[in-house]
Symmetry: C2
């Protein structure tokens, strides 16, 4: 019998400024809840949008400080883009996957394949700013988990997420780019189905599914960057775990890409 | 303020036989719940695994009735596969995307890109059987929705799901292959962020995220093919809607694939 899953936004998160203490903000919002069901519980998972993690880490670029390269200028002119934005995207990338029809899909230095290397001008805290992905999102998740534990007395799991486009399918889905305390995958290989037949190839991307579940309660027009998921206790084994890096498929093994 | 999401399995679903009335089975399980919170409510979404929908529709192939083609025999020998299984996969496909290292990724006649055209031998109801994807999963979802409405007095939304591998990422995530009554996407293009800046390119794959959320409460080792999600009311506008077909990206528009 599976446990119910309860997914709810953490209310009252203000605009996050550079060097903000995100754990203090989130723990404060949790503590100020009057409903006793909103108190922290073992096994709770905090799903936090990359944007506020990056802002707190000041992973923000001011366009006025960017000097575009010749490649960035050339491609930006063809695509009708700001060459400084293209320069920032290229600087965040180790490999260009597609550069076509005004869309730039790259592999980031972390190994994520996504549009514009995850660089985003929306909700950036002001015009002329671009928010980058955190330098090491698994480390961000581990730090946030440790600091939340210190403030709340219980170690939650933490997932840092972003919206990625997908091959072959319309729309973006939220995925995990950083993770601490939640098992990133649930590996059913070797276990058997209800007929006693071994299950092959069934590795479930738990952290990505948790990211997607959290996104369903988040109103993108308001400030709800943090969401809690309760009921994933069997996927919250204790330590930090391998992080979302375990969700990255090496290019050589990638049959879908 | 976003609504909380509550996700819970529908208990007590028996093995589904060919021509089973899935709506009767699911509605019976809902009605037999003693907890009044488990009664049907407007806006409830039923997320149903493809496997039971296919079994009820008898979308099942007996291997003994399959005669493999020369291509299926040749590739199966090289990959160490059963040529009859390969034959069934090829027959379900309109395009081979990858055929390498024992893995066969194809585009199905519906337009889904997935491993083995969604053909699956696990939990197939017995040895020597393969479960296919439903012929028209959106039609399956619409039928199930209409029949659940007739039995429950409230029209729920219905999502039919399967686990697909993804490009660039480890593990499978559950996605929507059929959908009725739930908006498959939430289109934020043209709306503005908290800085008043227009949000570009933000189309959220709601039905896929709902499929993933439901998967988190499903125990693959037991029989929990149906899951309910409560709290997605703003994505349940009334009619059947465009279905999961709206999530298929035409190959010509696909920059990720």
């Amino acid at each position: 019998m599976a446990a119910d899953l309860l997914v709810f936004a953490v209310p009252g998160i203000p605009e996050i400024a550079p060097a903000a203490d995100l754990a203090r903000v989130i723990a404060g919002a949790v503590r100020s809840a009057t409903d006793p069901q909103r108190a922290i519980e073992p096994g709770d998972v905090f799903v936090v949008a990359q944007k506020v993690v990056s802002k707190a880490e000041d992973a923000v670029v001011r366009l006025g400080e960017v000097t575009p390269s010749a490649l960035a200028i050339e491609w930006a002119a063809a695509a009708g883009k700001d060459p400084r934005v293209v320069e920032v995207v290229l600087a965040q990338s180790k490999r260009i996957v597609r550069m076509d029809r005004g869309v730039l899909i790259t592999e980031t230095h972390h190994g994520f394949v996504c549009a514009n290397a995850g660089v985003d001008a929306s909700n950036a805290g002001g015009p002329g700013r671009l928010v980058l992905l955190p330098l090491d999102p698994d480390a961000s998740a581990r730090r946030l988990r440790a600091r939340l534990r210190a403030r709340l007395g219980v170690a939650p799991a933490v997932v840092v997420t972003d919206s990625f486009g997908r091959a072959w399918r319309i729309g973006q889905a939220e995925v995990a780019i950083g993770c601490a305390g939640l098992a990133p995958v649930d590996d059913w290989r070797g276990r058997t189905d209800t007929d006693g037949r071994e299950l092959h190839g069934t590795v479930i991307a738990i952290a990505d599914e948790a990211a997607s579940a959290a996104d369903l309660v988040r109103d993108k027009g308001s400030r709800e960057p943090a969401v809690r998921i309760r009921g994933l206790g069997r996927q919250v084994p204790g330590g930090d775990g391998p992080g979302a890096a375990a969700l990255l498929r090496a290019a050589a093994d990638d049959l879908f890409g």
